[in-house]
């Protein structure tokens, strides 16, 4: 494993909490002056309704594959050291963390921008679903990021928005062959 390119993607089993310290430790490095994190937590209300819990499920192998691809895209756009993404499945009660992203970089602009990109892309394209459970019912949520992108898709639309930087950078070895990424981007607009 190239120590320059540490990427960790985990789908966390039911009833296990996300250990924030673990992921911060994972991305920490002497060369990385900045660590940016995002954690999504279950809110207690939605449109005035009291939320009891969120229940997540995932198409695990595809979600992992997608997340790794998104991490790869992030590396092609920003100069990053390490990335960690963890998402829980199962019930996530109010106040608990359902998703965690941690990114380290030499400089904070790269870490912060990449962190935002990663959560935005996750919400737009990774096959994970949540059901909002209220005291008097439950409903499957739909991310607007996903819906907006679906209707914008042309033939060469991309799940992972790659910002092509003009300055020369070493090609990191983590990216899978381009064909797979384009295939992954081709969402049906039935």
């Amino acid at each position: 494993m190239n120590s320059e390119d540490k990427t960790l993607v985990e789908i966390i089993d039911e009833n296990k909490q996300i250990d924030l310290a673990k992921y911060i430790n994972y991305v920490s490095a002497p060369q990385a002056g900045a660590i940016a994190t995002f954690s999504g937590t279950t809110r207690d209300t939605f449109e005035g309704k009291t939320v009891v819990e969120l229940r997540y499920e995932a198409y695990v192998p595809m979600a992992i594959r997608n997340l790794k691809s998104i991490c790869c895209s992030a590396r092609s756009s920003w100069n990053l050291h390490s990335i960690a993404v963890a998402h829980r499945v199962g019930s996530v009660p109010v106040g608990e963390i359902s998703v965690l992203i941690a990114v380290s970089a030499t400089h904070r602009a790269d870490a912060l921008d990449a962190c935002k990109f990663l959560i935005d892309e996750l919400k737009a394209s990774v096959p994970i679903w949540k059901k909002e459970v209220y005291s008097n019912g439950e409903v499957w949520k739909e991310n607007t990021e996903f819906l907006e992108r679906r209707f914008k898709h042309g033939k060469d639309g991309s799940c992972c928005r790659r910002k092509i930087k003009t300055e020369a950078r070493d090609i990191k070895g983590c990216c899978k062959p381009k064909v797979k990424e384009e295939d992954a981007a081709d969402i049906s607009t039935s």
């Binding site: 594959r65 359902s98 096959p127 499957w140 991310n143 981007a185 049906s188 039935s190």
Partner: protein
């Protein structure tokens, strides 16, 4: 009187190649509707993912209520309705996602 059978040249009927077997996965709302997490389905060779979806909607008519908003994945990658399925492919019915 004996009649002589005048048989035409025998054509061997090859069944393999005319059908393919795929696995279909249902998630979230799609699973609620069908009551299944997965099923195995036989479709004609050369069928598209759209053909498969049509067959699924015929089997589970309530899938029609989400048909316009689902996307499909073939072997863990997003795909289009014109993609052709092969034997042992895995087709996932993906309702609007809501991770994060």
């Amino acid at each position: 009187m004996k009649t002589e059978d005048n048989l035409p040249a025998v054509q061997s009927v090859v069944k393999d190649g005319s059908f393919v077997q795929i696995k279909v996965l249902f998630f979230a709302k799609a699973r609620d509707i069908t009551g299944l997490t997965e099923l195995s389905m036989e479709v004609s060779s050369g069928s598209t993912t759209q053909d498969c979806l049509n067959k699924l909607v015929a089997k589970f008519p309530n899938l029609d209520e989400i048909r316009q908003c689902i996307v499909l994945a073939l072997n863990e990658e997003y795909t289009t309705e014109s993609a052709v399925v092969k034997d042992k492919d895995e087709l996932a019915i993906i309702p609007p996602i809501s991770g994060g």
